[in-house]
Symmetry: C2
Subunit: 145 residues, 2 copies
């Protein structure tokens, strides 16, 4: 298997084990010593360098409002030391997010993420998420006050 193909397979497993299943114990196997959130507008960790413990905290906090969240990868594109994933996402809104108390709603969104590798370890990302669609779904039919 080419390194390019291997990185795509690693990224598929990372998305499944870490982001879909929320397995904190799986993080160490995938991450480089430092993980840099290069660009991620609206993410509290935008611009930050994370070690494994800080990454696990981000995973815990990010998944809390949507414990059943699932990323469904649409396509993967590998070039140089990067793999780009386009994805659809669904999650049930079970805890407070950005001032919205749990609504119980099934939320959908989509995004694109560039994952950077050092060898076969993931060392950061550059990401755009369609945040507006999430806020529109959370605030639909919201009662003022």
């Amino acid at each position: 298997m080419s390194p390019t193909q291997e990185r795509k397979e690693i990224l598929r497993r990372f998305m499944e084990d870490v982001w879909n299943q929320g397995r904190l114990d799986a993080v160490d196997a995938y991450l480089a010593l430092r993980y840099t959130v290069r660009h991620d507008p609206g993410d509290p960790w935008h611009g930050k360098q994370l070690d494994a413990e800080a990454f696990k905290e981000r995973l815990r906090v990010s998944r809390a409002p949507f414990p059943d969240q699932r990323f469904e990868i649409q396509e993967l594109f590998a070039d140089g030391d990067a793999v780009v994933a386009t994805w659809l996402w669904t999650g049930t809104h079970r805890a407070e997010l950005a001032g919205f108390p749990a609504t119980g709603r099934q939320i959908r969104m989509s995004g694109a993420t560039v994952y950077y590798f050092e060898g076969l370890k993931i060392c950061g990302h550059w990401q755009i998420v369609d945040r507006l669609s999430v806020f529109q779904q959370l605030s639909a039919d919201r009662q003022p006050g």
Copy 2:
């Protein structure tokens, strides 16, 4: 030059000539017979197939609120028949957009776009734009009513 490298160069020129300079006369040189907007949440052409004339109409309408708009490509990733661009964008808000009359504000946003090629012609895209940041900038300090 490899086809992969050539597609990256074509995409750079397409972004400059078509989207930055708004040259309707440049469109034909870049586009395949059909251009498919595979995914572009919030874009009026989301899901549509466009011929060159329909693409030019989209270009005209999309650029109207921000006539001086500029995409600054961050990185390009080529794989298979696709080139992925990550980009920053700036534009001065000079005409109505989504119910917001011209504010004269310099707006910034970022996004990621997968461009699909047929040979050396561009035949569609899959895109995520950080729309929320645009609405936040347009509505900041907005007076109700």
